[in-house]
């Protein structure tokens, strides 16, 4: 790990964009939505300096909402692995980086995910202020970028930036920038600063209590069922969740044959588990809502992944039309006793 000084973050961004395709959260013309878009030059970096989270996490770069798995040409099955051009994701927040690390483990054996992931370098950014609805410190997913989660990390220090390389690939990207090494102690100064930023987040006691009660199965089935009634099965939460990974697949006719496409699915759909026989192990909406939160907060998954399946981004709360996003659910669970 080495640290450099950087006067302007745009200089780094443009330097990287000259080497590979670069995507970064931007407001598209006329839109108030912060989206992952290819860099258009002279875009101001306002979205980088404010603690704003892109509407969508970065998972679509590695696990796209739709992708072709193979083709059948009438004679044989042909695997269609993606061949992505080298790319950089610039300005990834710590919560989303933790989610990428989680999916890196989950999709370890998946050649489609891995092909996209291996073509990508990650430039993370430390959040200096809480974002709306975010609670990353509670689930050890921020506000500063964790070790080993990005190739480069940008950290604002006073009016300047500290640029930390976490991988040799990341450091190689800096060739030609002629950056000065940061003063000794800048990295430890950053470490000391993190608890101060974390302390500015609103209380997340309801999240902590909720995690405990989910793991002790103390949430009554009736409460899950009541929350299930509020689930519209819209899949907003599962689409926006940076760690959600369920998919389904179907065959689509093309010239001279068929192709198999996989697309995001949602464990909150009523037929998600329905079998050919009609048997459905999760026919009740309450079971499905419980399943979703079990998957996010169970210690069973923590054991496997070294972290919870929730990285505290708060997107589910913002998008849920039924008011059963993470804060609403955990507040109700923490109020039961």
């Amino acid at each position: 790990m080495r640290a450099f000084l950087l006067d302007q973050i745009d200089r780094l961004r443009d330097h990287l964009a000259a080497q590979r395709s670069l995507f970064t959260p931007q407001f598209a013309a006329g839109s108030s939505e912060l989206s992952w878009l290819p860099l258009s030059h002279n875009t101001p970096s306002a979205a980088i300096e404010r603690p704003l989270l892109a509407t969508y996490p970065a998972k679509q770069f590695f696990f796209p909402d739709r992708e072709i798995l193979f083709q059948f040409d009438g004679a044989d099955f042909k695997e269609t692995l993606p061949k992505p051009a080298p790319q950089i994701l610039f300005g990834v927040r710590s919560c989303d980086l933790c989610a990428i690390a989680y999916q890196d483990q989950f999709f370890q054996q998946d050649p489609y995910y891995q092909a996209r992931r291996k073509a990508t370098l990650l430039v993370g950014i430390d959040c200096q202020l809480p974002c709306e609805g975010g609670f990353c410190p509670t689930v050890d997913a921020g506000p500063f970028v964790r070790d080993g989660m990005a190739d480069l990390v940008c950290h604002q220090q006073g009016g300047r930036w500290l640029l930390i390389s976490q991988t040799s690939e990341g450091e190689a990207l800096l060739d030609g920038l002629n950056l000065k090494a940061a003063a000794e102690g800048s990295i430890s100064q950053r470490s000391r600063q993190e608890p101060q930023v974390a302390a500015q987040f609103p209380s997340a006691a309801h999240i902590e209590t909720g995690i405990q009660r989910i793991n002790q199965t103390q949430v009554p089935a009736e409460l899950w069922q009541a929350m299930g009634l509020q689930c519209l099965s819209c899949s907003g939460c599962t689409n926006l969740c940076p760690t959600c990974s369920c998919f389904t697949s179907y065959d689509r006719p093309v010239d001279n044959g068929f192709e198999r496409e996989r697309c995001w699915d949602s464990c909150l759909y009523d037929a998600f588990q329905r079998e050919a026989s009609g048997h459905n192990p999760s026919a009740a909406a309450g079971q499905r809502v419980e399943r979703f939160w079990f998957h996010k907060f169970s210690d069973e998954y923590f054991k496997t992944f070294g972290r919870y399946g929730c990285t505290g981004c708060g997107r589910c709360e913002k998008t849920c039309p039924g008011v059963i996003g993470v804060h609403s659910v955990m507040k109700r669970i923490s109020a039961i006793l």
Binding site: T217, S245, C246, S249, D251, H295
Partner: protein, 271 residues
């Protein structure tokens, strides 16, 4: 060589009707690539344009790589499969999942309980156990009616080397046993020469759960009761999420679980 998600071609070499809306299929490899599998594992069949679904090995791949499946027509993919003829090429992926605990069953008195279309997932393990003299094994096979029974040829062979009771919800003659497999456990225990020391079951979950509870009440340890579960399996490699059971995915960690494991998984959630 295709990866985990892409099927390889296999050829259908034999088809015959075997029970209500059910057919016996034999497959052989096309590319010459043979695979091996263990009793209880499963594979997927893909029919271009109709998708893909999971099926169990009725017989494991032989030296030429040929294997069999018993398939009931229940949906669009199996309807398309029933339109196929000898020589047709379709897609295959596998083998997937875990297998019956053969090592643990050595020298045990084993009772096998099958309900309806739950018999085929037990066939490969019955074939292996019924030929071992050291393992006394008996089968109780429950069906709705005689017309619903499957695996006629296999059952004829098994009758020659092991005790089998066939039970019916709706028998067609007075000689046939009426009721569920659970109603006839005493009779099988007598034939086996003692209470079972291990139980394997596959069938409707209600039946399997009732069987497990019966043997638990009779003192059989939960780690000696094994159930093969049905869940919706798409990918076979624990990724797509459809076959979750608590923190486990049935396609990768199952489909066979001990009652001990199932109790633990079921206790993880409340609803």
């Amino acid at each position: 060589m295709n990866g985990l998600m892409t099927p390889q071609l296999i050829r259908i070499t034999e088809i015959y009707d075997d029970g209500e809306a059910s057919r016996h299929f034999t497959f052989e490899p096309v590319s010459g690539i043979r695979h091996s599998a263990r009793p209880g594992q499963f594979f997927t069949l893909a029919i271009p344009g109709h998708g893909e679904a999971a099926f169990t090995y009725l017989s494991l791949p032989d030296a030429q790589g040929r294997f069999k499946a018993l398939i009931r027509k229940v949906g669009s993919l199996t309807s398309a499969l029933f339109q196929c003829n000898h020589g047709d090429l379709i897609g295959f992926r596998g083998p997937f999942g875990n297998s019956w605990p053969l090592e643990q069953l050595k020298d045990r008195r084993v009772l096998i309980i099958a309900g309806g279309i739950g018999l085929p997932p037990l066939a490969a393990v019955i074939n292996q156990l019924s030929t071992k003299e050291s393992t006394p094994v008996g089968l109780i096979y429950g069906s709705r009616s005689p017309a619903d029974q499957v695996l006629k040829q296999e059952r004829l062979a098994w009758h020659t080397c092991m005790p089998i009771l066939e039970t019916f919800d709706h028998p067609s003659s007075r000689q046939q046993l009426t009721g569920t497999p659970l109603d006839h456990i005493q009779q099988m225990t007598a034939k086996l020469g003692g209470s079972p020391e291990a139980v394997l079951a596959c069938g409707p979950e209600v039946m399997m759960n009732a069987a497990a509870q019966h043997f638990i009440q009779n003192g059989l340890p939960p780690e000696e009761i094994w159930l093969a579960l049905e869940r919706r399996m798409h990918c076979g490699v624990g990724e797509c999420g459809h076959c979750y059971l608590g923190s486990s995915t049935v396609c990768a960690d199952g489909p066979i679980y001990s009652w001990q494991q199932l109790i633990r998984l079921q206790s993880q959630t409340t609803a």
